[in-house]
Symmetry: C2
Subunit: 243 residues, 2 copies
DNA sequence: TACTGTGAATGAGTTCACAGCC
DNA sequence: GGCTGTGAACTCATTCACAGTA
Protein backbone atom coordinates (compact mmCIF):
# COMPACT_ATOMS: atom_id res chain seq x y z
CA UNK A 1 0.00 0.00 0.00
CA UNK A 2 1.32 3.40 -0.81
CA UNK A 3 1.15 6.30 1.51
CA UNK A 4 1.57 9.52 -0.40
CA UNK A 5 1.86 12.95 1.11
CA UNK A 6 -0.56 15.51 -0.17
CA UNK A 7 -0.77 19.25 0.09
CA UNK A 8 -3.13 20.85 2.54
CA UNK A 9 -6.02 22.32 0.60
CA UNK A 10 -7.02 24.60 3.43
CA UNK A 11 -8.72 27.96 3.14
CA UNK A 12 -7.09 30.17 0.51
CA UNK A 13 -5.80 29.11 -2.84
CA UNK A 14 -2.23 30.38 -3.26
CA UNK A 15 -2.41 33.83 -4.73
CA UNK A 16 -4.06 33.92 -8.05
CA UNK A 17 -6.99 35.98 -8.93
CA UNK A 18 -7.20 35.00 -12.56
CA UNK A 19 -10.17 32.75 -12.63
CA UNK A 20 -9.32 29.19 -13.38
CA UNK A 21 -11.53 27.09 -15.58
CA UNK A 22 -14.91 25.90 -14.42
CA UNK A 23 -16.58 25.78 -11.03
CA UNK A 24 -14.52 26.13 -7.91
CA UNK A 25 -17.02 24.07 -5.98
CA UNK A 26 -16.17 20.44 -6.71
CA UNK A 27 -13.78 19.10 -4.10
CA UNK A 28 -11.68 16.49 -5.78
CA UNK A 29 -11.72 15.92 -9.51
CA UNK A 30 -8.40 14.26 -10.25
CA UNK A 31 -8.55 14.77 -13.99
CA UNK A 32 -5.65 12.38 -14.29
CA UNK A 33 -4.60 9.84 -11.72
CA UNK A 34 -1.07 11.05 -11.24
CA UNK A 35 0.44 7.61 -11.56
CA UNK A 36 -0.72 7.60 -15.15
CA UNK A 37 1.72 10.31 -16.14
CA UNK A 38 4.91 8.88 -17.63
CA UNK A 39 8.13 10.28 -16.26
CA UNK A 40 9.13 11.87 -19.54
CA UNK A 41 5.87 13.76 -19.72
CA UNK A 42 6.08 14.75 -16.07
CA UNK A 43 9.42 16.40 -16.69
CA UNK A 44 7.76 18.74 -19.18
CA UNK A 45 4.68 19.64 -17.20
CA UNK A 46 6.32 22.59 -15.50
CA UNK A 47 7.34 24.06 -18.83
CA UNK A 48 3.87 23.64 -20.24
CA UNK A 49 2.42 25.33 -17.21
CA UNK A 50 4.79 28.25 -17.43
CA UNK A 51 4.09 28.91 -21.09
CA UNK A 52 0.37 28.44 -20.72
CA UNK A 53 0.34 30.94 -17.89
CA UNK A 54 2.01 33.45 -20.16
CA UNK A 55 -0.72 32.90 -22.72
CA UNK A 56 -3.36 33.15 -20.01
CA UNK A 57 -2.03 36.52 -18.87
CA UNK A 58 -1.93 37.67 -22.47
CA UNK A 59 -5.58 36.80 -22.82
CA UNK A 60 -5.09 33.94 -25.28
CA UNK A 61 -7.88 31.45 -24.68
CA UNK A 62 -6.82 28.71 -26.99
CA UNK A 63 -3.47 27.32 -28.08
CA UNK A 64 -2.51 24.84 -30.80
CA UNK A 65 -0.05 22.01 -30.23
CA UNK A 66 1.97 23.45 -33.04
CA UNK A 67 2.37 26.91 -31.55
CA UNK A 68 3.14 25.64 -28.09
CA UNK A 69 5.64 23.22 -29.53
CA UNK A 70 7.50 25.87 -31.44
CA UNK A 71 7.84 27.98 -28.32
CA UNK A 72 9.23 25.11 -26.34
CA UNK A 73 11.28 23.44 -29.02
CA UNK A 74 9.15 20.29 -28.99
CA UNK A 75 7.31 18.53 -31.76
CA UNK A 76 3.58 19.06 -32.14
CA UNK A 77 2.89 15.35 -31.87
CA UNK A 78 4.73 15.17 -28.58
CA UNK A 79 2.66 18.00 -27.20
CA UNK A 80 -0.50 16.25 -28.30
CA UNK A 81 0.53 12.96 -26.70
CA UNK A 82 1.31 14.72 -23.46
CA UNK A 83 -1.78 16.86 -23.30
CA UNK A 84 -4.06 14.03 -24.39
CA UNK A 85 -3.33 12.51 -20.98
CA UNK A 86 -5.49 15.24 -19.52
CA UNK A 87 -7.92 14.65 -22.32
CA UNK A 88 -10.73 17.10 -22.33
CA UNK A 89 -8.98 20.32 -23.13
CA UNK A 90 -8.33 19.86 -26.83
CA UNK A 91 -10.88 20.59 -29.53
CA UNK A 92 -10.24 19.33 -33.06
CA UNK A 93 -9.78 22.10 -35.55
CA UNK A 94 -9.37 24.60 -32.73
CA UNK A 95 -6.69 23.84 -30.15
CA UNK A 96 -6.46 23.50 -26.39
CA UNK A 97 -8.29 25.45 -23.73
CA UNK A 98 -5.57 27.40 -21.96
CA UNK A 99 -7.19 28.12 -18.62
CA UNK A 100 -8.52 24.62 -18.23
CA UNK A 101 -5.09 23.20 -18.89
CA UNK A 102 -3.43 25.55 -16.46
CA UNK A 103 -5.71 24.34 -13.73
CA UNK A 104 -5.27 20.68 -14.62
CA UNK A 105 -1.51 21.05 -14.70
CA UNK A 106 -1.35 22.77 -11.34
CA UNK A 107 -3.40 19.99 -9.90
CA UNK A 108 -1.30 17.27 -11.51
CA UNK A 109 1.90 18.92 -10.35
CA UNK A 110 0.63 19.34 -6.83
CA UNK A 111 1.01 23.10 -6.75
CA UNK A 112 -2.69 23.81 -6.39
CA UNK A 113 -2.65 23.35 -2.62
CA UNK A 114 -0.37 24.45 0.17
CA UNK A 115 2.81 22.87 1.46
CA UNK A 116 4.12 23.63 4.92
CA UNK A 117 7.73 24.50 4.32
CA UNK A 118 10.83 25.19 6.40
CA UNK A 119 14.09 26.76 5.33
CA UNK A 120 17.43 25.60 6.66
CA UNK A 121 20.35 27.97 6.31
CA UNK A 122 20.11 31.75 6.24
CA UNK A 123 23.24 32.69 4.33
CA UNK A 124 23.18 34.80 1.18
CA UNK A 125 21.17 32.25 -0.71
CA UNK A 126 18.77 31.50 2.10
CA UNK A 127 18.09 35.17 2.65
CA UNK A 128 17.39 35.69 -1.03
CA UNK A 129 15.05 32.71 -1.02
CA UNK A 130 12.96 34.12 1.83
CA UNK A 131 12.19 37.04 -0.43
CA UNK A 132 11.44 34.97 -3.49
CA UNK A 133 7.77 35.39 -4.37
CA UNK A 134 7.62 32.15 -6.29
CA UNK A 135 7.39 30.04 -3.16
CA UNK A 136 4.01 31.42 -2.26
CA UNK A 137 2.84 31.26 -5.83
CA UNK A 138 3.60 27.56 -5.96
CA UNK A 139 1.90 27.01 -2.63
CA UNK A 140 5.05 26.67 -0.51
CA UNK A 141 4.31 28.42 2.78
CA UNK A 142 7.45 29.24 4.68
CA UNK A 143 6.78 28.67 8.36
CA UNK A 144 10.14 28.59 10.03
CA UNK A 145 13.80 29.22 9.39
CA UNK A 146 16.61 27.24 11.01
CA UNK A 147 20.08 28.70 11.21
CA UNK A 148 23.27 28.07 13.15
CA UNK A 149 24.36 31.69 13.61
CA UNK A 150 23.46 32.39 17.24
CA UNK A 151 23.00 36.12 16.64
CA UNK A 152 20.06 35.42 14.36
CA UNK A 153 18.33 32.80 16.46
CA UNK A 154 15.26 34.11 18.20
CA UNK A 155 14.73 36.95 15.75
CA UNK A 156 12.61 36.79 12.64
CA UNK A 157 12.89 37.67 8.96
CA UNK A 158 9.90 38.93 7.03
CA UNK A 159 7.76 37.65 9.87
CA UNK A 160 9.20 34.14 9.77
CA UNK A 161 10.67 32.99 13.11
CA UNK A 162 14.30 31.91 13.17
CA UNK A 163 15.27 28.90 15.28
CA UNK A 164 18.54 27.18 16.00
CA UNK A 165 19.42 24.09 14.03
CA UNK A 166 19.25 22.12 17.26
CA UNK A 167 15.57 22.93 17.56
CA UNK A 168 14.70 21.02 14.41
CA UNK A 169 13.47 17.93 16.23
CA UNK A 170 11.40 20.02 18.58
CA UNK A 171 9.80 22.44 16.13
CA UNK A 172 9.30 20.51 12.90
CA UNK A 173 6.78 18.00 14.25
CA UNK A 174 4.52 20.67 15.62
CA UNK A 175 4.58 22.59 12.35
CA UNK A 176 3.56 19.53 10.42
CA UNK A 177 6.10 20.57 7.81
CA UNK A 178 6.20 18.56 4.61
CA UNK A 179 8.82 20.41 2.60
CA UNK A 180 12.29 21.64 3.44
CA UNK A 181 14.57 24.00 1.55
CA UNK A 182 18.17 23.11 2.25
CA UNK A 183 20.42 26.12 1.70
CA UNK A 184 23.49 25.17 3.71
CA UNK A 185 27.08 24.39 2.69
CA UNK A 186 28.13 20.97 1.41
CA UNK A 187 29.61 19.90 4.73
CA UNK A 188 26.53 19.79 6.95
CA UNK A 189 24.05 19.08 4.15
CA UNK A 190 23.91 15.26 4.14
CA UNK A 191 23.58 14.97 7.93
CA UNK A 192 20.85 17.59 7.98
CA UNK A 193 19.03 15.82 5.20
CA UNK A 194 19.23 12.64 7.24
CA UNK A 195 17.62 14.39 10.19
CA UNK A 196 14.91 15.86 8.00
CA UNK A 197 14.14 12.42 6.66
CA UNK A 198 13.86 11.05 10.18
CA UNK A 199 11.48 13.87 11.01
CA UNK A 200 9.20 12.74 8.24
CA UNK A 201 9.85 15.54 5.78
CA UNK A 202 8.52 14.42 2.41
CA UNK A 203 10.43 16.67 0.02
CA UNK A 204 13.71 18.54 0.01
CA UNK A 205 14.80 21.25 -2.36
CA UNK A 206 18.54 20.92 -2.09
CA UNK A 207 20.91 23.74 -3.03
CA UNK A 208 24.03 22.07 -1.66
CA UNK A 209 26.17 20.67 -4.45
CA UNK A 210 26.15 17.14 -3.11
CA UNK A 211 23.97 14.10 -3.48
CA UNK A 212 21.83 13.63 -0.39
CA UNK A 213 21.44 9.93 -1.12
CA UNK A 214 18.01 9.63 0.44
CA UNK A 215 16.50 7.91 -2.56
CA UNK A 216 13.23 6.12 -1.76
CA UNK A 217 13.02 7.89 1.56
CA UNK A 218 12.52 11.51 0.66
CA UNK A 219 11.84 13.13 -2.69
CA UNK A 220 14.61 15.54 -3.48
CA UNK A 221 15.21 18.06 -6.21
CA UNK A 222 18.73 19.37 -6.58
CA UNK A 223 19.49 22.85 -7.79
CA UNK A 224 23.19 23.03 -8.55
CA UNK A 225 24.43 25.94 -10.61
CA UNK A 226 27.68 24.20 -11.42
CA UNK A 227 25.75 21.35 -12.98
CA UNK A 228 23.71 23.83 -15.00
CA UNK A 229 26.86 25.48 -16.28
CA UNK A 230 28.16 22.10 -17.33
CA UNK A 231 24.92 21.41 -19.11
CA UNK A 232 25.28 24.67 -20.96
CA UNK A 233 28.89 24.07 -21.93
CA UNK A 234 27.99 20.60 -23.15
CA UNK A 235 25.07 21.89 -25.16
CA UNK A 236 27.26 24.50 -26.80
CA UNK A 237 30.09 22.11 -27.60
CA UNK A 238 27.63 19.67 -29.07
CA UNK A 239 25.44 22.18 -30.86
CA UNK A 240 25.49 20.59 -34.23
CA UNK A 241 23.87 23.40 -36.11
CA UNK A 242 24.48 23.11 -39.83
CA UNK A 243 24.40 26.62 -41.17
CA UNK B 1 28.92 21.14 -42.31
CA UNK B 2 28.77 21.73 -38.64
CA UNK B 3 30.43 24.63 -36.98
CA UNK B 4 30.67 24.09 -33.27
CA UNK B 5 31.86 26.62 -30.78
CA UNK B 6 34.66 25.50 -28.55
CA UNK B 7 36.18 26.88 -25.40
CA UNK B 8 39.43 28.76 -25.60
CA UNK B 9 42.11 26.44 -24.38
CA UNK B 10 44.50 29.30 -23.89
CA UNK B 11 47.70 29.00 -21.89
CA UNK B 12 46.95 26.91 -18.85
CA UNK B 13 44.89 23.82 -18.84
CA UNK B 14 42.99 23.90 -15.60
CA UNK B 15 44.96 21.50 -13.44
CA UNK B 16 45.29 18.21 -15.14
CA UNK B 17 48.29 16.08 -15.57
CA UNK B 18 46.75 12.65 -15.90
CA UNK B 19 47.23 11.46 -19.43
CA UNK B 20 44.14 10.88 -21.46
CA UNK B 21 44.04 8.04 -23.93
CA UNK B 22 46.67 8.18 -26.65
CA UNK B 23 49.26 10.77 -27.60
CA UNK B 24 48.91 14.31 -26.37
CA UNK B 25 50.31 15.64 -29.62
CA UNK B 26 47.33 15.43 -31.96
CA UNK B 27 45.26 18.59 -31.91
CA UNK B 28 41.92 17.22 -30.90
CA UNK B 29 41.82 13.95 -29.02
CA UNK B 30 38.33 13.84 -27.75
CA UNK B 31 38.49 10.58 -25.81
CA UNK B 32 34.91 10.29 -26.85
CA UNK B 33 33.62 12.05 -29.90
CA UNK B 34 31.00 14.09 -28.13
CA UNK B 35 28.34 13.19 -30.63
CA UNK B 36 28.68 9.64 -29.43
CA UNK B 37 27.23 10.48 -26.05
CA UNK B 38 23.51 9.77 -25.96
CA UNK B 39 21.37 12.54 -24.58
CA UNK B 40 20.26 10.51 -21.58
CA UNK B 41 23.83 9.84 -20.58
CA UNK B 42 24.80 13.45 -21.16
CA UNK B 43 22.17 14.58 -18.70
CA UNK B 44 23.88 12.55 -15.99
CA UNK B 45 27.47 13.56 -16.69
CA UNK B 46 27.33 16.57 -14.42
CA UNK B 47 26.16 14.45 -11.52
CA UNK B 48 28.87 11.90 -12.09
CA UNK B 49 31.44 14.65 -12.18
CA UNK B 50 30.20 16.19 -8.97
CA UNK B 51 30.24 12.94 -7.03
CA UNK B 52 33.57 11.86 -8.44
CA UNK B 53 35.07 15.16 -7.41
CA UNK B 54 33.89 14.54 -3.86
CA UNK B 55 35.63 11.19 -3.93
CA UNK B 56 38.72 12.77 -5.41
CA UNK B 57 38.88 15.33 -2.60
CA UNK B 58 38.40 12.54 -0.11
CA UNK B 59 41.37 10.72 -1.55
CA UNK B 60 39.41 7.79 -2.97
CA UNK B 61 41.24 6.57 -6.04
CA UNK B 62 38.84 4.01 -7.27
CA UNK B 63 35.07 3.70 -7.28
CA UNK B 64 32.74 0.83 -8.16
CA UNK B 65 29.67 1.22 -10.34
CA UNK B 66 27.70 -0.14 -7.46
CA UNK B 67 28.82 2.45 -4.90
CA UNK B 68 28.45 5.36 -7.28
CA UNK B 69 25.04 4.12 -8.27
CA UNK B 70 23.79 3.93 -4.72
CA UNK B 71 24.89 7.47 -4.06
CA UNK B 72 23.10 8.78 -7.10
CA UNK B 73 20.08 6.55 -7.02
CA UNK B 74 20.96 4.86 -10.29
CA UNK B 75 21.44 1.19 -11.12
CA UNK B 76 24.92 -0.21 -11.34
CA UNK B 77 24.38 -1.39 -14.89
CA UNK B 78 23.37 2.07 -15.97
CA UNK B 79 26.53 3.52 -14.50
CA UNK B 80 28.58 0.91 -16.31
CA UNK B 81 26.88 1.63 -19.64
CA UNK B 82 27.48 5.32 -19.23
CA UNK B 83 31.07 5.12 -18.11
CA UNK B 84 31.95 2.49 -20.69
CA UNK B 85 31.54 5.25 -23.26
CA UNK B 86 34.76 6.72 -21.95
CA UNK B 87 36.14 3.22 -21.84
CA UNK B 88 39.55 3.03 -20.35
CA UNK B 89 38.85 3.98 -16.77
CA UNK B 90 37.29 0.78 -15.51
CA UNK B 91 39.29 -2.22 -14.33
CA UNK B 92 37.49 -5.54 -13.86
CA UNK B 93 37.46 -6.67 -10.29
CA UNK B 94 38.53 -3.23 -9.14
CA UNK B 95 36.38 -0.31 -10.25
CA UNK B 96 36.89 2.99 -12.04
CA UNK B 97 39.81 5.35 -11.81
CA UNK B 98 38.37 8.45 -10.19
CA UNK B 99 40.84 11.10 -11.30
CA UNK B 100 40.96 9.85 -14.86
CA UNK B 101 37.20 9.94 -15.08
CA UNK B 102 37.00 13.42 -13.60
CA UNK B 103 39.29 14.68 -16.29
CA UNK B 104 37.48 12.86 -19.07
CA UNK B 105 34.13 14.15 -17.88
CA UNK B 106 35.33 17.72 -17.72
CA UNK B 107 36.58 17.40 -21.24
CA UNK B 108 33.39 15.82 -22.48
CA UNK B 109 31.29 18.46 -20.77
CA UNK B 110 33.39 21.29 -22.15
CA UNK B 111 34.32 22.70 -18.76
CA UNK B 112 38.01 21.98 -19.13
CA UNK B 113 38.67 25.17 -21.09
CA UNK B 114 37.60 28.78 -20.74
CA UNK B 115 34.46 30.47 -21.94
CA UNK B 116 34.27 34.22 -22.38
CA UNK B 117 31.13 35.20 -20.56
CA UNK B 118 28.99 38.29 -20.10
CA UNK B 119 26.29 38.95 -17.54
CA UNK B 120 23.14 40.87 -18.35
CA UNK B 121 21.20 42.32 -15.45
CA UNK B 122 22.66 43.40 -12.14
CA UNK B 123 19.70 43.07 -9.81
CA UNK B 124 19.76 40.94 -6.67
CA UNK B 125 20.31 37.77 -8.60
CA UNK B 126 22.90 39.22 -10.97
CA UNK B 127 24.88 40.66 -8.10
CA UNK B 128 24.87 37.33 -6.29
CA UNK B 129 26.01 35.60 -9.45
CA UNK B 130 29.02 37.88 -9.85
CA UNK B 131 30.20 36.57 -6.52
CA UNK B 132 29.53 32.94 -7.26
CA UNK B 133 32.84 31.07 -7.36
CA UNK B 134 31.46 28.26 -9.46
CA UNK B 135 31.64 30.27 -12.67
CA UNK B 136 35.39 30.37 -12.60
CA UNK B 137 35.62 26.77 -11.52
CA UNK B 138 33.65 25.70 -14.57
CA UNK B 139 35.76 27.89 -16.82
CA UNK B 140 33.25 30.71 -17.26
CA UNK B 141 35.25 33.95 -17.25
CA UNK B 142 33.07 36.95 -16.59
CA UNK B 143 34.31 39.80 -18.75
CA UNK B 144 31.57 42.38 -18.73
CA UNK B 145 28.29 43.24 -17.09
CA UNK B 146 25.42 44.97 -18.87
CA UNK B 147 22.79 46.80 -16.87
CA UNK B 148 20.09 49.38 -17.52
CA UNK B 149 20.41 51.32 -14.26
CA UNK B 150 22.30 54.46 -15.33
CA UNK B 151 23.82 54.99 -11.91
CA UNK B 152 25.77 51.75 -12.22
CA UNK B 153 26.95 52.19 -15.80
CA UNK B 154 30.59 53.13 -16.06
CA UNK B 155 31.46 51.70 -12.66
CA UNK B 156 32.64 48.19 -12.00
CA UNK B 157 31.88 45.32 -9.64
CA UNK B 158 34.62 43.01 -8.42
CA UNK B 159 36.77 44.39 -11.19
CA UNK B 160 34.24 43.64 -13.94
CA UNK B 161 33.25 46.71 -15.98
CA UNK B 162 29.58 47.64 -16.15
CA UNK B 163 28.16 48.85 -19.46
CA UNK B 164 24.76 50.02 -20.54
CA UNK B 165 22.48 47.57 -22.27
CA UNK B 166 22.68 49.75 -25.38
CA UNK B 167 26.38 49.03 -25.61
CA UNK B 168 25.83 45.32 -26.20
CA UNK B 169 26.33 45.53 -29.95
CA UNK B 170 29.45 47.58 -29.54
CA UNK B 171 31.18 45.66 -26.77
CA UNK B 172 30.27 42.02 -27.25
CA UNK B 173 32.03 41.54 -30.60
CA UNK B 174 35.31 42.88 -29.30
CA UNK B 175 35.16 40.61 -26.24
CA UNK B 176 34.63 37.58 -28.40
CA UNK B 177 32.07 36.47 -25.83
CA UNK B 178 30.60 33.01 -26.26
CA UNK B 179 28.37 32.71 -23.22
CA UNK B 180 25.79 35.02 -21.69
CA UNK B 181 24.08 34.87 -18.33
CA UNK B 182 20.65 36.42 -18.59
CA UNK B 183 19.47 37.65 -15.19
CA UNK B 184 16.80 40.15 -16.15
CA UNK B 185 13.01 40.21 -15.62
CA UNK B 186 10.64 38.30 -17.88
CA UNK B 187 9.67 41.40 -19.85
CA UNK B 188 12.93 42.28 -21.56
CA UNK B 189 14.34 38.74 -21.61
CA UNK B 190 13.19 37.46 -25.00
CA UNK B 191 14.23 40.60 -26.88
CA UNK B 192 17.62 40.58 -25.21
CA UNK B 193 18.07 36.94 -26.04
CA UNK B 194 17.27 37.78 -29.65
CA UNK B 195 19.99 40.43 -29.67
CA UNK B 196 22.48 38.04 -28.09
CA UNK B 197 21.72 35.48 -30.75
CA UNK B 198 22.30 38.06 -33.47
CA UNK B 199 25.61 38.91 -31.85
CA UNK B 200 26.71 35.33 -32.23
CA UNK B 201 26.51 34.29 -28.60
CA UNK B 202 26.59 30.49 -28.50
CA UNK B 203 25.07 29.77 -25.12
CA UNK B 204 22.69 31.46 -22.71
CA UNK B 205 22.08 30.60 -19.08
CA UNK B 206 18.60 31.99 -18.64
CA UNK B 207 17.17 32.88 -15.25
CA UNK B 208 14.06 34.59 -16.58
CA UNK B 209 11.01 32.36 -16.21
CA UNK B 210 10.14 32.40 -19.88
CA UNK B 211 11.03 30.34 -22.90
CA UNK B 212 13.51 32.21 -25.07
CA UNK B 213 12.46 30.23 -28.12
CA UNK B 214 15.86 30.36 -29.80
CA UNK B 215 16.00 26.64 -30.43
CA UNK B 216 18.56 25.69 -33.09
CA UNK B 217 20.09 29.13 -32.91
CA UNK B 218 21.57 29.33 -29.46
CA UNK B 219 21.98 26.68 -26.80
CA UNK B 220 20.09 27.69 -23.72
CA UNK B 221 19.76 26.29 -20.25
CA UNK B 222 16.90 27.57 -18.15
CA UNK B 223 17.10 27.88 -14.41
CA UNK B 224 13.60 28.49 -13.11
CA UNK B 225 12.99 28.01 -9.42
CA UNK B 226 9.25 27.83 -9.91
CA UNK B 227 9.71 24.88 -12.22
CA UNK B 228 11.95 23.21 -9.66
CA UNK B 229 9.33 23.68 -6.97
CA UNK B 230 6.76 22.10 -9.25
CA UNK B 231 9.11 19.20 -9.85
CA UNK B 232 9.45 18.73 -6.13
CA UNK B 233 5.74 18.91 -5.45
CA UNK B 234 5.12 16.41 -8.21
CA UNK B 235 7.78 14.06 -6.91
CA UNK B 236 6.28 14.19 -3.44
CA UNK B 237 2.71 13.67 -4.59
CA UNK B 238 3.82 10.75 -6.71
CA UNK B 239 6.26 9.24 -4.27
CA UNK B 240 4.95 5.75 -4.32
CA UNK B 241 6.95 4.45 -1.42
CA UNK B 242 5.47 1.28 -0.05
CA UNK B 243 6.49 1.17 3.57
C1' DT C 1 -10.82 22.90 -43.25
C1' DA C 2 -7.72 22.47 -39.63
C1' DC C 3 -7.04 20.80 -35.89
C1' DT C 4 -6.77 16.82 -32.13
C1' DG C 5 -6.40 11.92 -30.63
C1' DT C 6 -4.28 7.68 -31.34
C1' DG C 7 -2.92 3.01 -33.44
C1' DA C 8 1.29 1.38 -35.49
C1' DA C 9 6.17 1.86 -36.41
C1' DT C 10 10.31 3.34 -35.03
C1' DG C 11 13.86 4.69 -32.01
C1' DA C 12 16.13 5.40 -27.49
C1' DG C 13 17.22 3.95 -22.96
C1' DT C 14 17.50 0.56 -19.40
C1' DT C 15 18.02 -3.85 -17.40
C1' DC C 16 19.41 -8.63 -17.53
C1' DA C 17 22.67 -11.90 -17.40
C1' DC C 18 26.91 -13.56 -18.23
C1' DA C 19 31.50 -13.79 -20.60
C1' DG C 20 35.99 -11.73 -19.96
C1' DC C 21 39.62 -9.83 -17.35
C1' DC C 22 42.25 -8.20 -13.29
C1' DG D 1 36.44 -13.61 -6.52
C1' DG D 2 34.71 -9.61 -7.93
C1' DC D 3 34.45 -6.47 -10.72
C1' DT D 4 33.64 -4.36 -15.68
C1' DG D 5 31.97 -4.50 -20.54
C1' DT D 6 28.40 -5.76 -23.51
C1' DG D 7 25.08 -8.65 -26.54
C1' DA D 8 20.25 -9.52 -26.17
C1' DA D 9 15.75 -8.65 -24.27
C1' DC D 10 12.91 -5.53 -22.79
C1' DT D 11 10.62 -1.26 -21.59
C1' DC D 12 9.74 3.37 -22.36
C1' DA D 13 9.37 7.49 -25.45
C1' DT D 14 8.82 9.71 -29.81
C1' DT D 15 7.32 10.17 -34.40
C1' DC D 16 4.44 9.01 -38.28
C1' DA D 17 0.38 9.12 -40.52
C1' DC D 18 -4.27 9.34 -40.73
C1' DA D 19 -9.09 8.68 -39.03
C1' DG D 20 -12.28 11.46 -36.46
C1' DT D 21 -14.50 15.63 -35.34
C1' DA D 22 -15.65 20.52 -34.21
Amino acid sequence: MSEMPSPESDSEQPGDSVKLGADAASEAIPSVRSGDIPAATASRLGLYLRELQHFLRGGTETIKSNALGRRLGLSDSQIRRDLALFGEFGKRGVGYNVSGLVQALRRALGTDGNWNTILIGLGNLGTALVRYRGFREQGFRLQAIFESDATKIGTELDGIPIYGIDDLEQIVPRLNAQMAILAVPVGPAPALARRLADLGIAGILNFAPVSLALHDEVSTVDVDLAVELQRLAFAVVNSDRSS
